[in-house]
Every structure is written in structure tokens, then in C-alpha cells.
């Protein structure tokens, strides 16, 4: 196996190709899905919803479980780990 690749500091998405990075720029810490058209990080709730929706669509888990798992994951990410608990 290969070593750790760059991963999004917001959602953990592994980033390999230029297109995977925000604005197609490899120096960006976030992936293309976690930023707006100007490269600014999207709000927490938006990222959480997108991740939860991804779990539901890809694996059919319940919306509540998907949201809990996505929240648990985001809590470990540099972009959100210092965010006060809701």
C-alpha cells in the first residue's frame, strides 16, 4: 500500500487529482466539495448535510444514523475539531 495522501481538512476526502482540490489548487487544504465557488469553506451544517446524504445514497443507512456518523467524523477534522459541541 502507498503512504497517506492529502485529504480534505473538512471532510477527510482523499485528494489525488488536481480536480479533487478546492479551485483545482493543490495547495488548498479542502476538497472541491467543501468550498464555494470562491474557495471559501462552506458552513458546517452544509458540509454535514452533504456527508450524511452521501452515506444514505451510497449505503442506505437511515438519515439519523448517517447524520450521527458524519458528525462524529467531522469532529475529528482540523476544520471542525475545535468547534463547540452543539
Amino acid at each position: 500500500m502507498t503512504d497517506k495522501c492529502a485529504s480534505c481538512h473538512s471532510c477527510g476526502f482523499p485528494m489525488e487529482k488536481d480536480d479533487d482540490f478546492a479551485l483545482g489548487d493543490r495547495s488548498q487544504p479542502y476538497c472541491c466539495f467543501c468550498v464555494d465557488s470562491h474557495g471559501a469553506l462552506l458552513p458546517y451544517e452544509t458540509v454535514l448535510d452533504a456527508n450524511a446524504k452521501h452515506y444514505v445514497q451510497s449505503q442506505g443507512v437511515s438519515a439519523g444514523a448517517a447524520r450521527s456518523m458524519a458528525a462524529a467524523l467531522l469532529a475529528t477534522m482540523p476544520a471542525w475539531r475545535d468547534r463547540p459541541a452543539a
Partner: protein, 195 residues
């Protein structure tokens, strides 16, 4: 001889702890391993473990984070050669084969792990699910594939794989169940999906 900085030394020790813990968890399971065992196997003091990881859970999560990243990269690399449905299935099995013992522990004990730990596995699963879905769309457009919802396509596959991995001791005693049964599982799954 080049001198190693304190920062490099710290990173090297942490990496050794993670690698050792991964091997230990693979051999003894998550529930059956403690930080003292990992410290001894890594040839460091027990206190050194806590300098890097304040709790046992932090060590487990770090191991799973590294494992998830390695698996995701390995899957993407394996995928670059063949984007067909069969190619995705075989790429998935090939990366699981590389870490079969550790993955088996995740399958067997995953429900007992912290929520973040399950999330790491779900990231990988989401990636595999997406690839299967994209490959299935191509086959569907060509009229070769039954219409199957994305999550059911993936869940059917992963249920098959996990069942065999969880019961490797009876399907392939003393051997890799993926190496032994992988071809049969791929062939069976393709037969289920294809018209």
C-alpha cells in the same frame, strides 16, 4: 551521519506505534489489545504511548484513520487499471487482501468501536459504492445489467464479502478467504447483476 531532529524522532516513534498497534489489533482484536501490549511490542515504555496518544481510544482512532487512508489510496490506485464492474470488484478485493487480518477484526468488532471508527469505514464504503454505481450505469446503458439501486448494489456485495471474511475460519481454514473464494464471489455477484 545526518542528525535526526526531535520532531522527526517524535514522528518516527508515533508511526512505529501506529504500525505496531495495527499489527497487534490484527492479531488479537481491538478488545483483546491494550496499550501496554502495544508499547512492549513497539519496544517503548508504556508512558511513551501516552505522550503520543492521551487515551487508548485516541490510538485506536489514529490507527483506523491511517488504515482508512491507506485503503482509500490503494483502492484508487487499483481502480486506475479497470473501471468495469468486474474491475471494481476485483480492485476492492485486492486492497482488502493486503490487510485481510486487520479488516476481519473491523468486520467482527466494528459495532463495538467508537462512532468515529465506523465513519472511517463508511468513507471507504462510500467510495466503493460510488465506483460500483458508476460501473453499473455503464453496463445498464448497454443493456447488460439489471436496474439495482446504488445502496442495494453495494450492500449486497459487501454483505457477501463480510460474511465470508467474518467466517474465514470455516471457509478457508488457515488461508486467505479472499484468495480462496474471491473469484467465486466476483463471478457469483456478476451473475446476480447481469441480465
Amino acid at each position: 551521519m545526518a542528525r535526526i531532529s526531535r520532531k522527526e524522532q517524535k514522528a518516527a516513534t508515533e508511526q512505529r506505534l501506529v504500525d505496531t498497534a495495527m499489527e497487534f489489533f490484527a492479531a488479537h482484536g481491538f478488545a483483546g489489545s491494550n496499550t501496554a501490549d502495544v508499547a512492549k511490542a513497539a519496544n517503548v515504555s508504556h508512558g511513551t504511548v501516552f505522550l503520543h496518544f492521551p487515551t487508548r481510544e485516541a490510538l485506536v482512532l489514529r490507527v483506523l484513520d491511517v488504515f482508512g487512508d491507506r485503503l482509500s489510496v490503494a483502492f484508487k490506485t487499483a481502480m486506475q487499471e479497470d473501471l468495469s464492474l468486474e474491475g471494481v470488484l476485483r480492485a476492492h478485493l485486492s486492497v482488502l487482501r493486503e490487510c485481510e487480518d486487520f479488516y476481519a477484526r473491523l468486520v467482527q468488532e466494528g459495532a463495538l468501536l467508537p462512532p468515529q471508527a465506523r465513519s472511517y469505514l463508511f468513507i471507504l464504503h462510500a467510495s466503493v459504492s460510488n465506483r460500483l454505481h458508476l460501473a453499473a450505469l455503464v453496463d445498464s446503458a448497454a443493456g447488460n445489467m439489471r436496474p439495482i439501486k446504488q445502496h442495494l448494489l453495494f450492500n449486497t456485495w459487501i454483505a457477501l464479502v463480510h460474511y465470508y471474511i467474518a467466517h474465514a475460519d470455516i471457509f478457508a481454514p488457515g488461508d486467505s478467504v479472499i484468495a480462496t473464494k474471491g473469484d467465486e464471489l466476483v463471478e457469483h455477484f456478476l451473475n446476480l447483476c447481469r441480465k
